[in-house]
């Protein structure tokens, strides 16, 4: 996938030149950075003045070769932030709207309606009108509609941004299912570092229409110089985990990370061995140099400091404790404990500081 394009916007020009091999690419950056405009340019909905856009070996736009495919020939599924379901059609007719795309190109994903419907859990909504479904359901229906048009690329514009945190927790798994089931490449615009860490394998960081950083999410989103540029200055940790046991009366579940480390998280239902993701903020982790006693926190993890990055009034520690935990402290705290590369530490994390995604 090649995105080399110049898109004139009202206050500046968006100029991007990247070649992407990743399956899920997150576009991250402050509002007004040109993220949505980039998606619209790729979909063919916004005027692109120069450059080339190539997806899966197919040239969609090239100023030098005078190629500019109209949106309907681009085979790109676009899920806008406001979902834009057709208000006069039922959910079923909405998701089937693009399913008769006649072109059956090489590399087009194989999607069947019943598969998509069950994967996104919208079977019970099919005969409703779009006015009768919730925000989270609308997002899933818009996603199903885009998938059933057999796109070669999915563009998702902050699909979770309009939802409250409770719904977010429920819709993230659907996006991960789509990622693993269909293998369709996605470009995903978001503000939320948890979403990036949970879904993406590559991040593009935009600012004022320019690419200011790119890399794997863990590298980009744990850099203090990048975090300090964000509106939502949040250092997040996200881990894949397996559910071991749940106890509703104790209000907690026990999960195992890929490394074998076991952790208590807030109660989450579901059968044992279910895979899930958990997240914890880097500001919600305490660091001790001696094993604490008489403390309420449910998780005390033994680990070793592997990196200390200090700058912009903060210190970000990478602590290897089975899995890599990123912890943010003030520089005086790091100095008082004498933390440096190789220090042995204990990480103290309340059960309820974890979020089950």
């Amino acid at each position: 996938m090649l995105l080399r394009c110049c898109v004139p916007l009202a206050s500046f020009d968006l100029a991007i030149d990247v070649s992407l091999e990743s399956q899920v690419t997150a576009i991250f950056g402050p509002s007004g950075a040109g993220k949505t405009s980039l998606l619209e340019a790729v979909a063919g909905l916004r005027h692109t003045s120069a450059g080339e856009i190539e997806i899966g070996g197919r040239l969609l736009f090239s100023s030098s070769q005078k190629i500019n495919l109209p949106p309907r020939e681009r085979a790109i599924g676009y899920v806008p932030q406001e979902t834009l379901l057709f208000p006069h059609l039922s959910v079923r007719k909405n998701i089937l709207f693009g399913s008769r795309r006649t072109t059956n190109r090489d590399g087009a994903i194989d999607v069947r309606m019943d598969h998509v419907v069950s994967l996104l859990d919208i079977g019970h909504l099919l005969d409703r009108s779009v006015g009768q479904i919730s925000g989270g359901e609308s997002q899933r229906v818009a996603l199903a509609r885009a998938l059933l048009s057999r796109p070669q690329l999915l563009l998702l514009d902050e699909p979770l941004a309009s939802l409250d945190i409770g719904l977010k927790e429920r819709i993230l798994p659907y996006l991960r299912r789509v990622r693993s089931e269909f293998g369709v490449p996605m470009i995903y615009v978001t503000h939320d570092p948890v979403e990036v860490l949970s879904l993406a394998d590559w991040v593009l960081m935009l600012r004022q229409g320019r690419l200011v950083a790119q890399g794997v999410p863990q590298a980009i989103l744990t850099s203090s110089s990048i975090l300090s540029q964000l509106e939502q200055d949040r250092l997040e940790n996200v881990f894949d985990a397996i559910l071991l046991a749940s106890d509703i009366d104790a209000g907690r579940s026990r999960v195992r990370l890929e490394s074998g480390q076991e952790i208590y998280v807030p109660y989450t239902p579901g059968p044992a061995q279910r895979s899930l993701q958990i997240g914890v903020r880097g500001d919600d982790i305490l660091v001790a140099t001696r094993e604490p006693e008489g403390i309420s926190a449910g998780n005390i993890l033994r680990g070793t400091v592997r990196n200390v990055e200090t700058g912009a009034g903060q210190s970000i520690l990478r602590v290897e404790a089975g899995a890599p935990f990123y912890v943010r402290l003030t520089p005086p705290a790091v100095a008082r404990l004498g933390l440096r590369n190789g220090s042995d530490v204990f990480l103290i994390i309340k059960t309820r500081s974890f979020l089950v995604l």
Partner: protein, 224 residues
Amino acid sequence: MSVEIWQITLFSLSVALASTLLILPLGILLSWLLARREWRFKTIVETIVMLPLVMPPVATGLILLKIFGRRSPIGGWLYDRGVEILFNWKGVLAAMAVMSFPLFVRSARSAFADVNPRLEQIAATLGASGAKIFFAVTLPLAWRGVVAGSLLAFGRGLGEFGATIMVAGNIPGRTQTLSLAIFSFVQLGKDAEAFGLLLVTVLLAFAAVAASEWLVRSKAKSRG
């Protein structure tokens, strides 16, 4: 009511209906072009179409009289092919169509403009052609305004007087519409017949405007 009144009412209704159906295809196309596309001479076309709204109907009628007269290129061309517009029901039809066209276009144009263009963009990304986008997205979302415009055009056609009398005259049994007949009855002192027709026109106009308003209001409501 007398047979005469029934005949006049039926004639007026039929021609007004035919006039509404006649302007529908061109009206929908033009309204959509005005709402959604930028093109050369757009402002000029828009102004010409709207002229009958503000010009004296008699003046519009005079223009039509000249256009369809045998000595004009259009009227002559039609006459050579055996079609005569003036002073028969076709003249009434032409006058009604021209006079009610701007009312239809105003209503339909704003209905098309109210359809969120982002929905049309999404339809395009889903592989829909221009025609499919129009018939599957734009028109179904604008239908209330289109129908409301048709009702207004129908009502305006029924009430048409000035242009009709210029183009088609006021020939009882041939071109006499409700409005023309009321005028004639009053002139002849036949007050009973005049008031009978008055009642008919008030009822018809009331129904058309009420239905049109109800459609526009139900649209506002359904948007919440």
